[in-house]
C-alpha cells in the first residue's frame, strides 16, 4: 500500500517548540518567522512517502519580510489606539476597531492564496517541487462571491464555500507535472455535517470522533492525483482510541503532554492517507516554468499566515 508515513516524535516536537518559544520571547516576537521555518522543516522531514522524506525549503528570512510588515502594522495600530485614548476620543476607537476588522477581512483571501502558493513552492519530494498555478484575482472573486452567499444565507452556504475554496486550491496544485484535483460537492458536504451534527447531539457528543472521521474520509477520497483517488484507512476504533487517550493525556498532565498529543494526532491522520496505487511516482517531471512564477517576492506569500481553509 502506498501510504504517507509520519515518523515525528513528541520529544522532537517539544524540543523544537520549546527552543522556538524561548528565542521568540527573548527577541520580542521577531524570531517567529525562523521558528516557523524550523518547525515546518521538522514536520515536513518527518513525513515520508516511499521511504523518501518531504522537505520544506522556506527560510525565516523570506517569511520575515512579510512578518515584519504585519508586526509594524499592529504596532502602528496599537499606537493609534493609545493615541485615541490620550486624546479621549471614543469615536476614534470605534473607527479603529471597525477598520482593523475590515482590513483583516479583506486580507483573508489574499492571505490564503499567498500562504498556499508559498508553502507549495517551498515543498519538495525527491527533489520535485510542488506548485500552485491559481490566479489571485480569480481566487479573490471566488472568495468574496462565496462569502456573500454565506452571509445572505445566514451561514448555510458556508459548507459550499468551504468546498469551493478547497476545490480551487487543490485543482491548481501540482507536484512537478502531476496535477491534484478535488471533486467534493457542497450539497454532500452539507449533508455529512448535518447528519454528523445531529448524531453528535443525540449521543451527547459521543459521536464526535466518528463525525471527524467521516469529514476526513470525505476530503481524502475526493482528493485526486492525476485523476486517481486518495483513500482513507482511518477506522472508528483508531480515532476513538487516539482522541480519548489524547483527552486523558491533556487532562492528567494539565496540558503538558500537548507535544505528544499533537504528534499522535498528526500520525493518526497522515498514516491513514493512502495514495493512488496506479500513479507512476517514479516518473514525475520537474515543472520548472510553474516554479519560477511561484517564487515572486509577494508580501502576502511571504506573510504565510497560518490560515486553514
Amino acid at each position: 500500500m502506498k501510504k504517507l508515513n509520519f515518523t515525528g516524535k513528541g520529544s522532537g516536537y517539544l524540543a523544537i517548540w520549546a527552543l522556538n518559544l524561548i528565542l521568540t520571547i527573548v527577541t520580542l516576537g521577531l524570531y517567529y518567522p525562523w521558528a516557523k521555518e524550523k518547525m515546518r522543516k521538522y514536520l515536513w522531514n518527518e513525513t515520508n512517502f516511499e521511504n523518501d522524506r518531504f522537505q520544506f525549503h522556506g527560510t525565516g528570512k523570506e517569511m520575515f519580510k512579510g512578518f515584519i510588515k504585519v508586526y509594524l502594522f499592529f504596532v502602528v495600530f496599537y499606537a493609534a489606539f493609545f493615541a485615541a485614548q490620550y486624546a479621549e476620543n471614543p469615536e476614534m476607537y470605534v473607527i479603529l476597531i471597525v477598520l482593523l476588522y475590515l482590513v483583516l477581512l479583506l486580507l483573508i483571501p489574499f492571505a490564503i492564496f499567498g500562504a498556499w502558493r508559498y508553502r507549495t513552492s517551498r515543498t519538495s519530494w525527491r527533489g520535485i517541487y510542488f506548485s500552485f498555478d491559481g490566479k489571485q484575482s480569480d481566487f479573490v472573486k471566488l472568495f468574496f462571491k462565496n462569502l456573500f452567499f454565506t452571509i445572505i444565507t445566514f451561514g448555510i452556504y458556508s459548507y459550499w464555500m468551504q468546498i469551493n475554496i478547497r476545490k480551487y486550491i487543490l485543482n491548481h496544485t501540482k507536484i512537478g507535472n502531476y496535477r491534484f484535483s478535488y471533486t467534493g460537492d457542497g450539497g454532500d458536504y452539507f449533508g455529512i455535517n448535518l447528519l454528523g451534527g445531529f448524531l453528535s447531539m443525540i449521543t451527547l457528543y459521543i459521536y464526535i470522533p466518528a463525525f471527524i472521521k467521516s469529514l476526513f474520509e470525505y476530503h481524502v477520497k475526493n482528493t485526486k492525483l492525476e485523476g486517481k483517488s486518495f483513500k482513507s484507512t482511518l477506522t472508528n476504533s483508531e480515532i476513538y482510541g487516539v482522541l480519548i487517550v489524547n483527552f486523558l493525556l491533556i487532562i492528567f498532565t494539565l496540558g503538558i503532554a500537548f507535544p505528544w498529543v499533537f504528534i499522535r494526532t498528526m500520525k493518526m491522520y497522515m498514516n491513514n492517507i493512502q495514495l493512488p496505487e496506479d500513479v507512476d511516482y517514479e516518473n514525475i517531471k520537474q515543472d520548472i516554468d510553474n516554479y519560477t512564477d511561484a517564487t515572486g517576492d509577494d508580501f502576502l506569500d511571504s506573510l504565510d499566515l497560518d490560515l486553514d481553509f
Partner: protein, 361 residues
C-alpha cells in the same frame, strides 16, 4: 560509495556511486539506455537538508535549480561522507537538540519554559501592566469604569436609599479623591465589597451587617478607596491583557489580538487583587483613618469580624493554601495593621455614628 541520486529533473531514484576528488563530487550511474553517465559537482555547493532525529539517513542537496539530491542510506557511506565533508554535518542549535538524549531534551525544555514563564509573570507582566496603566488617563479610566459598572449594576440588587446614606457617610467622614466616588449598597447577603476603576465602590449588606462600629465602615471605605486611588483594578486588567496581548503577538494569533481589544466586560466580582495590592490598600486605608481622626482600630476590628466569619475548617484549608491565595490571610493582615497603628488623636464623630445606625436598620 553507493548512493541514491536524484537529478532534479524527475522523481526517479537513480542508484549511483560517489567519489570525492579534488574538492568535487564525482557521481557515476547508468541511465535508461544503459550508458554510464558521469557528473561532477563542487562540494561547496552542497548542504545537508535533514531535519529530523533519525541519523540513519544523510541527505544533501546542491544550490542549483532544480537542485540535485543525494541520499546516503548505508552506514558505510554515511560514515564516508561525514569523514570527507565534516562541514556538511548540521551544527545548528535545533539539529543539536534533536540529536540530544530524549530525557535531557524534555527536562531541559520544561525547565527553561517554566523559568521563562515565571520571569514573565513576576517581572515582565507587572512592568508592562504599569506602563499601560500610566498611559490611561483618569477620564478614560472613569469612562471605562462607567461602562463596566453599567453591566455589573444590572446583576445586583441595589438599594438607592442606603446608597445615598453611604455617600453621606463618605462625605461626612471627610474622605477626598480625585475620582468621582460613588458608593453603592448591594442588598445581598454576600460578605464582600469591591471597587471598580474610576470611582465606584460596591458594599454588600452581608458585610455591613457584620459591623458594629462606624469606624469599621470607615476602615472599609478607606481600603476600597485605596484600590481606586492606586488604580489597582486597572493595573490588574493591564497585567492580564499585557500577557494575553504578548502571547497573541508572539504566536501570531491575530484573532487573539482583536479579541483582547474588543473584550470590555469583565466580572469584577471574581477579579482578585494581588496580595501586594491588598496590603497596600490596608495600609493606605489605615493611614486615611488617622488623617480623618477616626479610630484606626476600626479597621482591625473589621478584620477580626471577617476572620470570625470563616469556619475552623476553612481557616485550616486557607492556611495550607496561603501561598496560592491572592488575599493575605486575615490573621496576617491584623498583624501588620496592628503594627501600623499610630493614632492617638481620634475623636468620636456623632454624625458618622448616626448615619451608621441608619444603615444598620
Amino acid at each position: 560509495m553507493k548512493i541514491i541520486f536524484f537529478n532534479g529533473q524527475s522523481s526517479k531514484p537513480i542508484p549511483a556511486y560517489i567519489e570525492n576528488k579534488l574538492g568535487e563530487f564525482h557521481i557515476s550511474y547508468t541511465d535508461e539506455d544503459s550508458n554510464v553517465v558521469f557528473q561532477s559537482f563542487k562540494i561547496e555547493d552542497w548542504k545537508r537538508v535533514d531535519y529530523n532525529s533519525d541519523d540513519a539517513i544523510f541527505t544533501i542537496e546542491n544550490n542549483s535549480f532544480p537542485p540535485c539530491k543525494i541520499i546516503f542510506k548505508e552506514e558505510k557511506s554515511i560514515a564516508y561522507i561525514k569523514r570527507i565533508c565534516p562541514d556538511l554535518i548540521n551544527n545548528n542549535l535545533h539539529q543539536k537538540i534533536l540529536n540530544f538524549n530524549t530525557q535531557k531534551v524534555i527536562i531541559g525544555a520544561f525547565a527553561s519554559l517554566i523559568a521563562i514563564i515565571a520571569l514573565y509573570i513576576f517581572v515582565v507582566s507587572p512592568f508592562i501592566g504599569k506602563i499601560v496603566t500610566n498611559m490611561i488617563t483618569i477620564n478614560t479610566e472613569i469612562s471605562l469604569g462607567n461602562h463596566f459598572s453599567k453591566t455589573l449594576i444590572n446583576t445586583l440588587n441595589i438599594d438607592d436609599k442606603k446608597s445615598t446614606e453611604l455617600m453621606q457617610f463618605y462625605q461626612t467622614a471627610g474622605f477626598q479623591s480625585k475620582y468621582p466616588i460613588e458608593i453603592i449598597y448591594a442588598d445581598e447577603s454576600t460578605v464582600n465589597a469591591f471597587a471598580i476603576p474610576g470611582g465606584k465602590i460596591v458594599i454588600f449588606k452581608g458585610l455591613l451587617d457584620k459591623m458594629e462600629r462606624y469606624e469599621e465602615l470607615a476602615g472599609l471605605i478607606g481600603h476600597e478607596l485605596a484600590h481606586v486611588e492606586k488604580r489597582h483594578s486597572l493595573q490588574q486588567i493591564s497585567n492580564k491583557l499585557s500577557t494575553y496581548l504578548l502571547v497573541s503577538i508572539l504566536t501570531n494569533d491575530t484573532g487573539g489580538i482583536t479579541t483582547a481589544l474588543m473584550e470590555h466586560t469583565i466580572n469584577f466580582r471574581s477579579l482578585k487583587n494581588s496580595r501586594s495590592f491588598e496590603k497596600e490598600a490596608d495600609l493606605w486605608g489605615i493611614n486615611e483613618l488617622k488623617k480623618l481622626h477616626i479610630n484606626q482600630n476600626g479597621m482591625i476590628s473589621l478584620f477580626e469580624k471577617i476572620k470570625n466569619n470563616e469556619s475552623d475548617i476553612n481557616a485550616t484549608l486557607t492556611k495550607t493554601l496561603e501561598y496560592m491565595s491572592s488575599h493575605p490571610l486575615t490573621d496576617k493582615r491584623i498583624e501588620y495593621l496592628k503594627t501600623s497603628i499610630t493614632d492617638t488623636t481620634s475623636t468620636q464623630n456623632n454624625n458618622l455614628q448616626k448615619i451608621f445606625e441608619r444603615l444598620q436598620n
